[in-house]
Symmetry: C2
Subunit: 87 residues, 2 copies
């Protein structure tokens, strides 16, 4: 059965403080890496979808992301189909 990959990225909303990202950002300065003004850390989910990734499947994944992968009070999410380029 063909399997496609859909990626759901979950990031804290811009107005929400991100202590993890701030910790990374400050550590970069301490380690001597400059030129990075801000870091935000979020989650990336890779979902292997059975069958065709049509509007119906994307709708279901949107629902999964909204109800389960992201806390939409404080987080934004994006759903996208990953192309075949192995990274």
């Amino acid at each position: 059965m063909p399997v496609a990959r859909v990626v759901v990225d979950v990031m804290l909303k811009p107005e929400i403080l991100d202590p993890q990202g701030q910790a990374v950002s400050r550590a970069l300065v301490r380690l001597g890496f400059d030129g990075i003004s801000d870091v935000r850390q979020g989650k990336r989910f890779e979902l292997e979808v059975e069958g065709p990734v049509d509007d119906d499947a994307l709708g279901r994944i949107h629902k999964i992301a909204e109800s389960f992968l992201a806390n939409t009070v404080i987080e934004d999410f994006t759903v996208r189909v990953e192309n075949g380029d192995a990274s």
Copy 2:
């Protein structure tokens, strides 16, 4: 000063067991969402870069990702410049 966004995605290597992803995958079945055969969970870092994102800047970010954001024994990472489309 212009600020560009570079995204670093960090995922467990395919051969490494991902208990977080498995937990999500099993929960989806319990919650009645079918058609998802596998889930892997990783991290997404958004870095705001001061100045131009040239080869030099990307090289530095590659080094940051390799030495600091990812544990390259068990994780793979990708570095990419995010286009201006607000998501």
